[in-house]
Amino acid sequence: MASDTGHLLEIRGLRIEGESDGQWSTLLHGVDLTLRRGEVLGLVGESGAGKSTLGLAALGHIRPGCRITGGSVRFDGIDLLALPESDRLKLRGSRISYVAQSAAASFNPAHALLPQTVETAVQHRLMPLQTARQVAVAQYRRLQLPKPDTIGTRYPHQVSGGQLQRVMTAMAMHCGPDLIVFDEPTTALDVTTQVEVLAAIREAVEARGTAAIYITHDLAVVAQMAHRIMVMRHGSLVEEAPTSAILAAPQEEYTRSLWAVRELVKPDQPSAAAPLMTIEGLDFSYGRNGAKALEGITLTIPRGRTLAVVGESGSGKSTLGRVIAGLNVPTAGRITLDGQSLPPALRLRSRDLRRRIQLVHQSADTALNPRQTVAELIARPLELFHRLRGRATAARVNELLDMIELGPRYADRLPSELSGGQKQRVNIARGLAAGPELMICDEVTSALDQLVQEGILRMLLDLQAQLGISYFFITHDISTVRAIADEVVVMNRGRIVESGPRAEVLSPPHHPYTELLLGSTPEMRPDWLTDVLAARKAGQQAES
């Protein structure tokens, strides 16, 4: 059934509202979207821009608690919104399919991968079971999964995140759909894994000529995948243009701000003479006979400067942060603070030692007690470490709120009344309240949008200049390293593979692992992925 216009998907004036606490607010303000057959459209914007809502609408699906108040969604000439749900079900998975952000959460933990992959085809009687299995294995092979013949017998928890994401893509492609909606498919992955998944997705989509909507908050990623890009904000379209045009000459200020963090670079400063902390020959393992999670860690944290620790998930960055904080007790090695030996376990450290080292967690959502107001959250360390009471506490809380650029009017709010970036600022203020000399920042900007990240990084730099705090800054993101680090430590599998001043570590010659990390960070040019893949292929051929 071909439509008159030849367009595969036409969304016209789509308005969707969502309910929270009995209040209806508009998520999409009459958005238009047109997609041709075989075209890949990138949908970019911060969280809350309405990208996912729009992506799901392409399947005729709205999340519970949302309602459509206007507009139309036509897929191949069929009005999806007017269709009865039972007919929409027949289209889903077979002609329009979906790849979700977190593959780990989106696969049913109770079933093996193959039955989940073939479920749509078999349930809708599109293929006999045997054929469906063969098709699935062929898809696994096309997506370069290891052991494609047997990986389907494995359960979701037995397979790595990057592999799961590819299995999910295989599942989405299984029935040969006309349209696939990719909803942030690589956001949860490490940069090195992201490259593989992006390459596999792009190849699979190109080979079949499948049309796709690629949703992400990362402009550099979508530039590798999409022919055309739509930038969204607050449920409306900001800008729409072919990929190369939007990168070369963005028309809107907002589009430019989407790569704000990438342009932030900390000026070089000489390090002060005596380091704040030194770590020598530190080992750590979980359990008595567990494998070593950290091995032979030796580093120094400069006073009043930032040491950034980079590496993939599982490299031991956070474990090291917890060792310094005293939460993990090392099995060997020595830590000194200000020249004095630091007791390894938290219970052996005096209150003043605890005050001097503060840990700020990645997720402010889970680190802040949802039942305490901002003032209560920040006052706690003031009372504990500085014995402040009553009016003195309130005055100091207000000062701290000014320092994190929120101001005293936020004092009586609950965390649920704050945005993600504001919550993270409160989380940082709580660490500051103790008056630390060293603050361990564990991926504090990773879950935030680019513009918000930039604001928080600038604030951290200001605070460092004012207060002379040292940061032990854990991150996996190279642009964040450029923005905040003086010294850099690169970790892989519990060991330090390279360390030194930022300029040295980030410029060649690199250790091979640093090279891999740097090379896997998407760049703002459409040919980046092609170049990386070509370079790797050449490298492999040279080796063999």
Binding site: L56, L59, H61, R63, S86, L89, K90, L91, R92, G93, S94, S97, Y98, A100, S102, A105, S106, F107, N108, P109, A110, H111, E119, T120, Q123, H124, R154, Y155, H157, Q158, M171
Partner: protein, 322 residues
């Protein structure tokens, strides 16, 4: 060893320890029971010598540890001891008193479970599927009101409607030897109905809540976006991940059917083990009380153990280790 087998063996060992602890507690608790069997049987006028002789005969003058070992040793050999009551004439083995009653109780429990568990699961699944519809609200209101009413009231209402106003069933559920299965089923129809009304609510509500809890998971949204039909979403995608709490509440309800139905037994004059225990407590017939308590404890431990093992065994992380 496969981690699953190791976990199951661990649970079995823990169950054994729990059972032993219960036997000690049961035994010591009865030590502290006020009053004395010998005095109460022989009457206030009996001479101290007669009482003492009677106590000797029953073994009540031995030290507690020795009596415990004697008792538990017998239990392990399948000998529950002799009832105190009736000793004056012919000694009766505790097992002769308890086992037929236990069989009756298990019969009633089995019939009730066979009806109530599937009905509760079905209602719970349907309530989850059609949640916030009129069907869901009616089922919820109905089950809530049956569970809120005391059992005896439910029992009398059932009798009033189905035995008095519309005499379809017997108001009394006396079993006599030589009844065939159909007659037995007719006899227990009303207690089965009463007990079902009482236990369906818990199981149904837990099924509904567990399924709805799982329905918020991303993999359920994914299943819907794959075009999976609503019933299949519930049965194949939600139910396997909601099994643990459901199995636990089923085990709890089944244990209640064995252990907690004395009120229903009394109302319907049903010769179950609950009545036996109450009578034995009243007569200070300690061996019978001990036997009943031990059976009750074993039922609880066994059913909960089974529920634990089922929920462990259905967890793919344990079943399919990395």
């Amino acid at each position: 060893m496969h981690p699953l087998i190791r976990t199951i063996l661990q649970r079995l060992a823990l169950g054994g320890i729990a059972l032993f602890a219960v036997s000690v507690v049961v035994f010591s608790a009865l030590e502290f029971l006020p009053g004395d069997f010998a005095t109460s049987v022989l009457g206030r006028n009996a001479t101290p010598e007669t009482v003492e002789a009677f106590r000797d005969e029953l073994g009540l003058n031995l030290p507690p540890a020795e009596r415990y070992l004697g008792w538990i040793g017998g239990v392990l050999r399948g000998d529950l001891g002799h009832s105190f009551a009736g000793r004056a004439f012919t000694p009766r083995a505790v097992s002769d008193i308890v086992l037929p009653r236990l069989a009756n109780t298990l019969f009633l429990a089995a019939i009730t479970a066979a009806i109530a568990v599937p009905v509760a699961l079905l209602l719970g699944l349907m309530a989850a599927l059609y949640r916030n519809t009129r069907f869901d609200r009616i089922v919820n209101a109905a089950t809530l009101s049956t569970v809120a009413m005391p059992e005896f009231l439910v029992a009398y209402l059932v009798i009033l409607v189905l035995a008095v106003k519309l005499p379809a069933f017997y108001a009394m559920s006396t079993l006599s030897p030589g009844m065939d299965l159909t007659e037995k089923l007719q006899a227990v129809a009303l207690p089965v109905l009463t007990l079902s009304l009482v236990i369906i609510a818990h199981m149904m509500r837990m099924t509904r809540a567990a399924i709805i809890g799982v329905l918020a998971s991303p993999y359920i949204e994914m299943a819907r976006l794959k075009g999976v039909r609503p019933w299949r979403v519930i049965l194949r995608h939600a139910l396997p991940n909601a099994l643990a709490p459901i199995v636990n509440v089923i085990a709890f309800s089944l244990a209640y059917l064995v252990v907690g139905v004395v009120v229903t037994e009394v109302v319907f004059v049903y010769p179950g083990i609950g009545q036996t225990m109450v009578d034995a407590v009243r007569n200070r017939d300690i061996p019978v009380v001990q036997a009943c308590t031990l059976i009750f404890a074993a039922t609880y431990i066994l059913l909960n153990l089974l529920a634990d093992i089922i929920s462990i065994a259905t967890s793919p992380r344990l079943l399919h280790a990395k």
